[in-house]
Amino acid sequence: MRIASRGLPLLLAALAIAYPWLVPNYYLVYAGALTVMYAAMATSWNLLGGFTGYVSLGHSAFFGLGAYGTGLLVTRLGVPWVVALVVSAVLVTAFAAGVGVAAVRVRGASFVIVSIALVSMMNLVVQGWRSLTGGSTGLQVPSPFPGLHRGQTHMVFFYAFLALLALALLVWWYVSRSRFGAGLRAIREDEDKAESLGVPTGAYKVTAFCLSALFVALAGGLYALWFGSLDPIFVFSILIGSYMVLMSLLGGVRHLFGPLLGALIVAPAGEYFLIALGETQIHLTATGLVLVLVVLFMPDGILARLTRRRAGPSIPDQSADQRLQEVTP
């Protein structure tokens, strides 16, 4: 059992690395890169959502800002793409800190509303500020690898997103094993109680919010360099944000690999719908229905189903008194 649980991730990692060479065509490399991108974003989302229970439907704001930041730095200032990617992500994180201070003051549903407001706001700004962003016509970003053909670019970005995913997983894992992570989980369970135990909940939440925004912004920047053309309506769409939520919930927000598993199901399914049904809007209905079903019947996700401990309280009540008899002199 132990060997299986250690070996399985290694095997999957090896498979992921070999994936572009295993598939027969570049379309599947493209679809793979897209899936890994969503997996990285969902895992980053889970840095906030999974630990603290603050569900953000507006994380596409950070995706879009990261994308536009990188694109603008490259096109307007002629900054090398690596620098643009990093600087843009840092700027977005700083922005997230400012937003976070206001946003995490409210809990539960109010927080979700704020996150929706955030992404709508960013969408308005980017579309309205035509002179800088090109408005609703979009922004063209030159490819960082002009020597490569389209398929080779897909391969490069497949590995770039894979590295980002690995980084996000590593950070999630590290946080989950730290005292910081224990504090974040305590916030999810009972925020006032955590505060009374000395946990600076406000600072914790803002930190988690920023960390989560950082990796999503990096994904956005990579996306800008990869696709080369940014459409504000797409990158700031609530749909991207809801994909992150759906993937995480479906896989299981309490598990390291939950969002990854969710992405492996949802992203290919989305691509399949696109091919099978064409450019209709019915894929929205499919996404919506899956979300409804997950929320109703599997709110803890697939992994929780698989790893569920045996049902019912594991400690019989009377054992407390028995223990008391033993320790009371």
Binding site: S178, D190, S196, P200, S314, A320
Partner: protein, 243 residues
């Protein structure tokens, strides 16, 4: 030395003054009882002292430092711990994880430290052993009985190493054997130098355990002194019987 001192604390909800000019002084090293009829403002007083509610007026001083309007976690860092009336633990964390939530001071190095940091885990096991629930460390807190949860809550508060501990109805909803056990623990912890302020309706427990009793009525203390004196005070009887 003075442990906790409040001066003229006042808090109104709508038109009702839940706490009304409460001036209280606790001396270090005592077990203080806080009694009074329902609705006399005891829990609101707790909430103000621990920073969960902001007072309309008045000051809270701890060891002569003004902590009025401090956020709850800063109050905790100052050395005040508390339990809640309806015992509150983190239901879906394990017992050991519950113990490791408490933060004594905000230092980056400590926050990034691993959860299984040996020193902290040893401290956690020490307190779990003293509560008699060390065998449950891997169980999720929601699977514990109510009494076990009460012990866990107290143990988790002790992880923050408070000098003053506010207990809100420690005997509420637990069986007599456990009440005796909790009373014994409080006495032991007090003998080790911790000061207590205990809100409790079980008069036998209060009178048997406390060195000093403060009686609240309508949001302010109306009498205080050793249990034997307070028990005979006519104002106390009047407050309870509601004449």
């Amino acid at each position: 030395m003075s442990s906790l001192r409040t001066e003229g604390l006042t808090k109104a909800f709508g038109g009702v003054r839940a706490v009304d000019g409460a001036t209280v002084e606790l001396r270090d090293g005592r077990i203080n009882g806080l009694i009074g009829p329902n609705g006399s403002g005891k829990t609101t007083f707790f909430n103000i002292v621990t920073g969960m509610i902001r007072p309309d007026a008045g000051r809270v001083l701890y060891r002569d430092r003004d902590i009025t309007r401090h956020t709850p976690h800063r109050v905790a860092h100052a050395g005040i711990g508390r339990t809640f009336q309806l015992c509150r633990v983190f239901p879906r964390l394990t017992v050991l994880e519950n113990m490791l939530v408490a933060v004594r001071r905000t230092r980056l190095r400590e926050l990034l430290a691993g959860l299984r940091d040996r020193g902290e885990v040893e401290r956690a096991r020490h307190w779990l052993r003293r509560m008699g629930i060390e065998h449950l460390e891997d169980a999720e807190a929601r699977d514990l009985s109510y009494g076990q949860q009460k012990l866990l809550e107290l143990a988790a508060v002790l992880m923050a190493e408070p000098d003053l501990i506010l207990l809100d109805e420690p005997a509420g909803g637990v069986n007599p054997a456990l009440i005796d056990r909790i009373a014994g623990l409080v006495r032991d912890l007090n003998a080790e130098g911790r000061t207590f302020l205990v809100v409790e309706h079980n008069m036998d427990l209060v009178m048997g355990m406390c060195d000093h009793v403060i009686v609240f009525d309508r949001g302010a203390p109306i009498a205080e002194g050793p249990p034997s004196v307070v028990r005979e005070d006519p104002r106390v009887l009047e407050a309870y019987l509601g004449v």
